[in-house]
């Protein structure tokens, strides 16, 4: 096996996208490095291995930033949804018995929270040139369904333990899936999902528009 072939195998430690973009250049740089180095023994290979493992780890972590963005969006949305549900139960009064929150505005409100938190996390984690890329879509694709399903889960459990009145309230799954909105069917849940996705996408379009303008200006 030639050194170039060995290095070609090592390149598989990087993500496929990175390999496709820079793999050929890296192989060429490695070939030149090997040709011009007097010593290509154990020390040379130790240097190449350390360089590859370190750089591939950093590159993999770098490629996972969209997941961190999704986690931030998910966390903030879950907390916001839980806070609303918790406040409702804490201040519960028989007067509110007939009070329901319509599914659509509740979904839109959660979508706005999700979109904003993902956008802020993205601003902190990605350089400007990457913000408009598919990372936002990836982050939303993970955060959106999970946020809908798990909204109200965390604080519901805490509230059940801390607040006796919470025991008399809806089962965990109902709060899980539907939060405050008093919907009782899968179609309501689907409506909430669609409302969240639509409002998050509208928000995304509004937030990315100025940076597109600045790109055209350059």
């Amino acid at each position: 096996m030639t050194p170039e072939r060995i290095y070609g195998v090592l390149l598989h430690l990087y993500s496929r996208r990175f390999r496709e973009e820079y793999g050929a250049d890296m192989l060429a740089a490695f070939a030149e490095l090997k040709t011009r180095r007097a010593d290509t023994g154990a020390a040379f290979w130790a240097f190449v291995l350390c360089d590859t493992i370190g750089a591939a780890t950093r590159e993999r972590l770098d490629a996972m930033r969209w997941l961190a963005t999704a986690a931030c969006g998910l966390l903030v949305t879950t907390i916001a949804g839980d806070a609303v549900a918790w406040a409702y139960r804490y201040f519960y009064h028989p007067y509110f018995e007939g009070f329901t929150l319509p599914v659509l505005p509740y979904g839109i409100a959660l979508g706005l929270v999700l979109g904003t938190s993902i956008a802020i996390a993205q601003r902190m984690l990605f350089p400007s040139a990457e913000r408009r890329a598919r990372h936002w879509m990836l982050a939303s694709a993970v955060a959106l369904p999970v946020a809908v399903l798990f909204c109200s889960a965390a604080i519901d459990r805490v509230a059940t333990g801390v607040l006796p009145i919470a025991n008399a309230h809806p089962a965990v799954f109902e709060v899980f899936a539907l939060g405050l909105a008093q919907s009782r069917s899968w179609s309501d849940l689907a409506t909430q999902c669609v409302a969240m996705a639509a409002s998050a996408l509208v928000l995304r379009a509004l937030l990315t528009r100025p940076s597109m303008r600045s790109r055209h200006a350059h």
Binding site: E21, P127, A129
Partner: protein, 103 residues
């Protein structure tokens, strides 16, 4: 964006003009008198980040087999900023007696 050590050295190497990958590796080694050696992995992950941040860009070259990179205006100003930051640090180190005074 605050460049890492390897990224800052790549920016410094590009101040002299466009370079290809191996040329950058050689320049960094020369600039640091052999104290910093970067391999292809470190170099191209740095290039990816610098390109994404708009600090360097690809430029045309006669050699079709390899890509050359040049510093952008933003890259130059980030390199200047980092150089000032390091200069301030050296001044503090000098003041506190960590480095000999130049006068």
């Amino acid at each position: 964006m605050t460049p890492t050590r390897a990224e800052f050295h790549v920016l410094l190497a590009l101040l002299d003009g466009p370079r290809h990958g191996y040329g950058l590796m050689q320049d960094v080694e020369e600039l640091t008198a052999g104290r910093l050696q970067i391999g292809p992995g470190t170099l191209y992950t740095a290039i990816k980040r610098l390109r994404a941040a708009g600090l360097i860009s690809e430029t045309d070259t006669d050699d079709e087999r390899r890509r050359c990179y040049k510093l952008t205006r933003k890259g130059r100003s980030v390199a200047e900023e980092e150089a000032h930051r390091l200069n301030d640090l050296v001044r503090v180190a000098r003041k506190r007696g960590l480095l000999p005074s130049t006068s």
